[in-house]
């Protein structure tokens, strides 16, 4: 079956190159890309990186196939989405045994695999041999089970698919709390006794804290000099105003200097991907709003692009223009707000942030006018947008884009960029060299601030971005200040795109036929990615031809960018940590999913 499938040009080029170097090392996968033998994975990956220019590992996804599919046996699987910086994509699949799922780790080849392999281990339970620090990342150490396995059920589990039978046809309302969560569907460690009353064995100790602190002690020991000094462990967060949510950072300090720092994630984890597998394809659209709740429109955009790839849908021109207008308004808003919050972290207090939020209000007004909601827009549909723009939209948008926003961006620049205090706090802080940034899979302003002119809108144009005249903004120093400069530059470029889009906005239909909410999506897999304001947002979707996604994985920029945080902070003062974190620009809704 799989061999007869038409491979894309890039994939067959890679296949023949691999075949030449490693005979029998790869074969075509079920839907897209190649299946690589685990024993040769590291060699093939190194070859692809060094000789074939696949320098950028975007997404690592764990998959669970309890049944055999299309000639492939029941298995666990890991999918790697590789890219060249020009945009060519290659997907590698590695199959792992169901009894003992182990695959070699690719952290040595692409350090960006680090956090994502940890996520795959946590969620699917595939062990990565050779991973330097294979711990759970979203769940806590000591959690039983792997939540994204098909046989794992959450505490309030009702059904594999919506609608739950209690909703329709039974129609008998009851509260989730009444379903006695602690008697069903909760897995405990084996030595725990649960006969109505949960008994924790004597001397039981959570492994979670040790797992966090012990590696830091090792780092501290490794950096010991002749003069022995005590290191202090400091927890920043999860309840801390400058962590942008519930991020916890554990730092070892020597005086005020950071020795080692690692982010501890998962405090906002809600198993978004499992919820996504229960939902209808369209039902995930409002859930994507809640990923990065600052930029809900762009999350919609990414999901729509990915599903349209699967469904092979054409989007009418007017809808594309509306999408770009919404998307660039989002980028403008996100960058304003992120600069505002960075200032807040730096101790400029609320002034800059409130100036930013003031402008954001107008963009939210536009959203509300078009979609009916200020933040949770749910505006995109497969093959178009939900509703046409209302009458008042274009005049207000024009007034903002042509008159108000350019002035406000200039004003913000006057306000910050010459300010000596702001410069002293941001220049030379958190320097990220270009090669490290690429290796760690950093994207967005973080990457472009380090001098890499990589933008998905240019590298792999989606929607109609190739029809507009705009530039990729790059700065070369890679410090916090340059990331701010990149954001200012991108706001200007967004305004440029918006001006063109508003001038040329065509008339016409806004949806490519009516896609019904219960539409089934043809079997296949797709990785759709967009240039979200915070970096690359990718949706890795697998469909088995049903009304629900078989696998729904999200690669978010905030999550992968956080992998570099420890490196960036090392050697800096504790006060710089918040500046560096602010300049990475994360939203916890998207980090933890």
């Amino acid at each position: 079956m799989a061999d007869e499938r038409q491979l894309s040009a890039v994939t067959s080029e890679a296949l023949s190159a691999i075949e030449e170097r490693f005979p029998g090392g790869a074969k075509p996968a079920e839907h897209v890309g190649l299946v690589v033998d685990p024993s040769q994975l590291v060699d093939v990956a190194t070859f692809l990186r060094d000789d074939m220019d696949y320098v950028y590992l975007s997404c690592v996804t764990g998959l669970d196939y309890p049944e055999a599919t299309n000639g492939f046996p029941a298995r666990y699987e890991v999918a790697y989405n590789l890219f060249r910086t020009q945009g060519d994509s290659l997907t590698l699949h590695v199959h792992a045994d169901r009894e003992n799922p182990v695959v070699p780790s690719l952290v040595e080849v692409w350090p960006s695999a680090n956090v994502q392999e940890r996520e795959a281990w946590d969620m699917i339970g595939v062990r990565f041999e050779g991973h330097p620090d294979l711990r759970r990342i979203l769940m806590w150490e000591g959690f039983e089970g792997h939540p994204l396995r098909k046989d794992w059920h959450e505490a309030y589990y009702e059904d594999d698919q919506k609608p739950f039978r209690s909703r329709f046809p039974a129609g008998d309302p009851s509260l989730a709390e009444e379903h006695a969560a602690f008697e069903r569907n909760v897995q405990y460690p084996e030595d725990w006794v649960n006969d109505g009353f949960l008994e924790v064995p004597e001397g039981w100790k959570s492994r979670a804290e040790d797992a966090v602190y012990l590696p830091l002690e090792e780092i501290a020991a490794a950096t010991e000099t002749e003069l022995r000094t005590d290191k202090v462990v400091l927890n920043i967060g999860p309840q801390h105003p400058s962590t942008h949510g519930v991020l916890r950072m554990v730092a070892t300090l020597d005086g005020e200097t950071i020795h080692g720092l690692q982010p501890v994630l998962g405090y906002l984890h809600r198993n978004h991907e499992k919820i996504g597998e229960r939902n209808l394809w369209l039902g995930n659209m409002p859930f994507t709003d809640r990923l990065d709740y600052i930029t809900s429109m762009y999350n919609n955009f990414g999901y729509a692009v990915a599903v349209e790839k699967l469904m092979d849908l054409e989007v009418p021109e007017r809808a594309e223009y509306i999408r770009v207008i919404m998307g660039e308004l989002t980028r403008l808003m996100n960058h304003l707000v992120s600069i505002g919050f960075l200032c807040n972290d730096l101790g400029i207090y609320f002034t800059a942030m409130l100036y930013a939020l003031e402008e954001r209000e107008f963009i939210l007004d536009l959203y509300e006018m078009a979609s009916g909601s200020r933040m949770m827009c749910n505006y995109f549909r497969f093959g178009g947008v939900a509703q046409d723009l209302p009458d008042g939209f274009a005049p207000m948008a024009r007034e903002l884009v042509f008159e108000r926003f350019p002035r406000r961006v200039d004003e913000m620049e006057t306000f910050l960029l010459d300010n000596e205090v702001f410069r002293a706090r941001t220049t030379g802080i958190g320097i990220l060299p270009a090669d490290v940034a690429v290796a760690y899979g950093c994207t967005g302003p973080l990457l472009r601030g380090s001098g890499v002119p990589y933008d998905v809108r240019r590298a792999e144009p989606y929607s109609i971005y190739d029809e507009f005249d705009w530039d990729v903004v790059v700065c070369n120093n890679g410090d916090v200040f340059d990331r701010v400069l990149v954001r200012f530059g991108e706001m200007r470029e967004s305004l440029r795109i918006l001006r063109q889009a508003l001038d040329r906005l065509p008339e016409g239909p806004i949806e490519a036929g009516k896609v019904r909410p219960t539409t089934k999506v043809p079997a296949g897999e797709a990785y759709g990615r967009v240039e979200h304001p915070k970096g690359e947002l990718g949706f890795y979707l697998v469909s088995d031809g049903g009304a629900n996604p078989y696998r729904y994985h999200i690669r978010t920029a905030s999550f992968v960018n956080l992998g570099i945080l420890g490196e960036l902070c090392r050697g800096h003062k504790i006060a710089d940590v918040v500046a560096i974190l602010g300049s990475i620009d994360i939203t916890l809704g998207e980090v933890d999913r």
Binding site: R167, G171, P286, N378, P517
Partner: protein
């Protein structure tokens, strides 16, 4: 010169401060105290032409809501029959992403066969995520989105489980909320 940048920043802050008061003064000179909160002033002060900082004295004043603004669904009652046009097909319950809709189909009292109306219909608005997919998918336009967002209560459970008695609202309510939608439907 060192310090010039700080002076520039302070200048921006100062300008915001002064402009806010100048704006107040403008409205004061036009109509005295309280004039800046009149229905004529508010839309102007919230528009992109606005200058300075503005505050809305909620709940005394409320900014106008756009027509598409959506909060929770309600049943539209047909003025002729006095009933909802809902046929209990369950489409809304099927598409509802957080599963906050419960539908039970009624039985015809004479024949005992399923009737085309809901016997019970509940929406738990504490679960509802206000996405509006139920309205989009309803084949009979029986539900629409309401705009009443002030639903605070002293208790978390029963107050938010809305049954048909609370969900049924006259068609006039729908027309008042969505005039241009209604006009378009009539035009078709």
């Amino acid at each position: 010169m060192y310090g010039l940048g700080i002076a520039k920043s302070l200048g921006v802050t100062m300008r915001h401060f002064v402009v806010t008061y100048l704006d107040d003064l403008k409205w004061f000179l036009q109509g005295g105290f309280g004039n800046r909160y009149t229905p004529e002033a508010l839309p102007e002060r919230q528009s992109p032409r606005a200058r300075g900082i503005f505050t809305i004295q909620y709940p005394k004043e409320q900014p106008p809501l756009p027509e598409r603004f959506r909060v929770f669904p309600f049943h539209v009652v047909d003025p002729e029959t006095g009933k909802s046009t809902c046929t209990a097909c369950g489409m809304c319950a099927r598409v509802c992403p957080p599963q906050c809709i419960w539908v039970r189909r009624g039985k015809d009292p004479d024949t005992g066969r399923p009737a085309k109306e809901p016997e019970a219909f509940f929406i738990d608005v504490s679960i509802c995520m206000s996405c509006g997919l139920c309205v989009e998918s309803c084949p009979f336009d029986a539900i629409k989105m309401d705009q009443d967002f002030e639903v605070a209560a002293y208790e978390r459970y029963d107050s938010f489980l809305w049954g048909l008695d609370k969900l049924m609202k006259p068609q006039a309510h729908d027309i008042a909320l969505h005039p241009s939608d209604y006009a378009r439907d009539q035009g078709d």
